[in-house]
Symmetry: C2
């Protein structure tokens, strides 16, 4: 019993699940960014002919999941669960996507950490013997998130320089108990950490301590060091959050070296006016399903840690004066 | 491989996880109802001295989880994960509770089906060897839900007779890979089913087809019949939804007999002006953690199926003209 449990927060898989396929769909801004060519599909606009951005986001998530299924050539009746989540209240993008996919559906909420969280839980369900194949899908959309979390999107209000731009994107991976491909070898489930950040225009600062906590616990649990991974990518800390996470880690005695970066730093360049970088659970899901998976498949990366970072931000509780708790979940992919 | 997978949507546990303890905390209306004496704690009012209903709901969830931990006498450092969810946007009640519990946290969203969903996933993580003990907690609060989903709570707007009253309550169970108690023997993960119900005052109708679908799949997967369980309790269909679910099941050739009822029908009586019954994910969580667990422990019930029912209702998409998809997740408890 519990041979798969390591340390305080980590699990190690007995038969590491395989990532059979990955697929990413993004909006125009992401397509124009430095990773543009690494995405499977780039939409010309965020509405994509739908009547609302919310419908478009759910369609984007469906496209990503359908793409992952087709790339893996797995018959749909051999996919035992769908795990999905997004940023919208009641995770509506995922719910409507699940209606179309008609698969047994487990709804996840980890804010922007949802991709890593869902891969972690999906891997446990496969390695535990409860599923042959699991479809994971995670999305966010700038125009649906903006009006839900901040101000009417059309208002185009000026943003603080510490703010991040929510990615319009959906990423999907198909996890399997058999087959060939990169494998999920371990995962570290994070705790909620709150450094009392109340600035709703600085999610990076709210998330950084939680990401640092998960990274520290991962290395302690696994008896590993940052140099054991060629890439450690946090979800969407952005430039400010990444610097803060490095600072917290340094104060805890951990030098992250040069392999630590952030999906929210990678996806846009300075000319794209995103301010502190990117956010949204679509960010790490498309950077992982696109760029990172391509580099793993090409043999450029052999050991990778993805640390999904979630700001558990609620407009309601923020207006009530509460701080913004953060969480980070890590998965290790090895080929 | 996959011996634990049965049929299309079900899993059977190799070493069925034990429910070591359960704890329920409710508001005054629930305390005055027919199940009042079966709850561990009844608050005198829904605010409980806090500055907002949202803070109170999260505190209620913490009380329930703390109660379950104390009843089980398990040291907190032996609890490997906390699985929780609630009805609030961004599951804030759970996030803030997780901050206080400081346990590795997996956020779940299944609308009102979250208790059954979390018990199912938690059981898979334990039986898969990834955790020794898992704390599950689920809450809802009438006054936080009312203003988020409908109208300002203080407005006290007239409700349709088909509407259900959101339960103020938090239920928690401590699942374990060892010890004595009732066991989770199987689970059926539901698909999203949508019969195009658009009436936001009739969640029972929106959920009924999904509950029926999960029940049908459960019996087909498990090769069992309704008479194999002394109690089949859906989450919160209410009177209208329960009648509709029976009708759908009957049309599919399944006679549910007399053991099929609904937590949303059980928790209030006719004098309490709840209209079609109760709803909210607190409903099935407190009825299960209170009344049902007591009857199991007393030996009155030996085989029970809890079918969490979730209306995946979003005020945003409802205003955009979308229908309300439903989902149902089932867990079987045997002693």
């Amino acid at each position: 019993m519990n041979l798969k449990r390591v340390g305080n927060q980590s699990v190690v898989f007995a038969n590491p699940p395989v990532i059979l396929s990955s697929y990413s769909v993004v909006g125009p801004k992401e397509g124009q960014g430095p990773l543009g060519k690494t995405f499977d599909k780039v939409w010309k606009d965020g509405l994509h002919g739908e009547k609302s951005w919310e419908v478009a986001e759910s369609k984007m998530l469906q496209e990503a999941m359908q793409g992952a299924i087709e790339q893996a050539s797995i018959p749909k009746d051999q996919i035992d669960f769908m795990l999905a989540g997004d940023l919208l209240n009641q995770i509506t993008s995922s719910n409507f996507a699940a209606r179309q996919m008609a698969l047994p559906f487990i709804g996840m909420y980890g804010a922007c950490s949802t991709m890593a969280l869902s891969i972690a839980v999906g891997s446990m369900l496969i390695d535990g013997g409860f599923a042959r194949n699991i479809l994971v899908g995670v999305s966010s959309h700038h125009d649906t998130a903006e009006r839900q979390y901040r101000l009417p999107t059309e208002q185009g209000a000026q943003r603080a320089m510490s703010a991040q731009w929510t990615v319009t994107g959906a990423g999907s991976v198909l996890l399997s108990g058999s087959g060939e491909g990169p494998r999920i070898t371990s995962a570290t489930i994070g705790r909620v950490i709150d450094y009392a950040v109340k600035d709703v225009s600085n999610m990076g600062a709210a998330m950084a301590p939680a990401v640092a906590d998960t990274i520290l616990n991962h290395f302690q649990d696994m008896k590993r060091k940052p140099i054991d991974y060629q890439l450690i990518a946090s979800g969407d800390l952005g430039a400010i959050g990444l610097a803060l996470a490095c600072e917290v880690l340094k104060q805890s005695g951990m030098d992250m070296g040069t392999n630590f970066t952030d999906c929210g730093v990678m996806i846009y360049d300075d000319s794209q006016d995103s301010h502190a970088g990117a956010s949204g659970c679509g960010c790490s899901s498309v950077v992982f399903a696109g760029n990172i998976m391509q580099r793993i498949k090409a043999g450029d990366l052999k050991q990778v840690m993805l640390v999904g970072s979630g700001a558990l931000h609620s407009p309601t509780t923020a207006l009530q004066g509460e701080s913004i708790p953060g969480i980070g979940h890590a998965v290790v992919i090895e080929s």
